[in-house]
Amino acid sequence: MKPFSREEMARKAAHDIPEGWCVNLGIGIPTLVANHVPPEREVIFQSENGVIGMGPAPAEGEEDPWLINAGKQPITLVKGASFVGHADSFAMIRGGHIDLCVLGAFEVAENGDLANWATSVNDTAPAVGGAMDLAAGARRLWVLMEHTTKDGRPKLVERCSYPLTGLACVTRVYTNLAVLDVVPGQGFVVREMAPGVDFDMLQAKSGAKLHRPS
């Protein structure tokens, strides 16, 4: 078995983004997606703090202290970039103007429910950021995550056990073992498996029934 690396997961997601989409990338692994979009393909990266048209990270020493993304990392702008304030940025997100959001997750349920902000309702200082707004507002939501937790528990589940971020919002999942679509009324449909992974092995590592593509 040769699981996908994080870079490979990011590359697969990037490959699936068509030209012209406006995309919001969550902090963490999803940020890697931007690095793998083919240079000739124009994709517009939006950041919750009001940047539309983010470019690659600046070279060291060339950071502009007035330019950061939602993860508070320094960024650059591409030609065609523009700025808005938070009210307008989230009006854009919540009004359905973001073609795709890519987030990490603790759990994804077979009906598309997402849990990615708190591991228990008694969390010390729970933090949600813009995740719930993106889950409710983006036209599509893809998740990039490991297939199981560090101690081997499945993260694809029948029903989320952690507090929800949003209902029936995830449309695709990229894990280190597979790429799966979340199909309404059906559930997880396997689109691709990592080298050496077979369906039964994947099913064994998943907490919900998987389906072969029809």
Binding site: D64, I68, V128, G129
Partner: protein, 226 residues
């Protein structure tokens, strides 16, 4: 002659009372009114409710204000940071209240307050613990929750340039929560890096019309300062 420019941070913060709801602009360090927050620490008001995106980093700024026991409650979306030690400690000890609000709902509730809208419906947080206890309602087959306006007694914001009318420009990603917070408080105080003559700011570059701003103070070093 209208002149909203004041000469000192102390003058800018005159009259901020105990128990105030204080909106604080910025996202990360960008557009964060550091000098005004330091000034608020000096000024002495306590029992404050602070509305801002994060809950402070390290032991400076808002974190220091909290450590001094001057903050009763934080309303924010992300009370974590690279170093959230002060907030986490106070929260664990039950010494500070937290109202956790999704970032977009936070911005929209503040906008609503500034636009005369007492309540609105949103799909954000439906089905999650943050919708618990909130009025729910269906429109066109989708579920929404009702959120109410969030207004401040005071707003502390940072702009890039200002003129004596209080018109503000923003730089880079420095707008973030600043323009919306400027619309939603009784006393709006802006720190800026540059004062310009009236008429020097391009009408289409003004991000916050002076109508919204009560006091402007120029600071030699904002953060980040360029």
């Amino acid at each position: 002659m209208i002149n909203k420019i004041v000469r000192s941070i102390a003058e800018a913060l005159e009259g901020v009372r105990d128990g105030s709801v204080v909106l604080i602009g910025g996202f990360g360090s960008v557009g964060q009114p550091d000098a005004l927050i330091e000034g608020l620490i000096e000024q002495g008001a306590k029992d404050l409710v602070c509305v801002l995106n994060n809950a402070g980093v390290g032991r400076v700024g808002v974190a220091k204000l909290m450590e001094l026991g001057r903050v009763r409650k934080i309303v924010c979306s992300f009370p974590r940071s690279s170093d959230p030690v002060v907030f986490e400690t106070l929260y664990r000890e039950g010494k500070i209240e937290l109202e956790l609000v999704p970032q977009g709902t936070l911005a929209e509730r503040i906008r609503a307050a500034g636009a005369g809208i007492p309540a609105f419906f949103t799909a954000t947080a439906v089905g999650t613990p943050l919708a618990q206890g909130k009025e729910a309602r269906e429109f066109n087959g989708r579920q929404y929750v009702m959120e109410t306006a969030l207004r401040g007694d005071v707003a502390l914001i940072e702009g890039w340039e200002a003129d004596r009318w209080g018109n503000l420009t923003y730089r880079g990603s420095g707008a973030n929560f600043n323009p919306v917070m400027a619309t939603a408080a009784d006393l709006v105080v802006a720190q800026v890096q540059h004062i310009r003559e009236l008429g020097e700011l391009h009408p289409h570059m003004i991000g916050t019309p002076g109508v919204y701003v009560d006091r402007v103070v120029q600071v030699d070093r904002g953060a980040p300062w360029v």
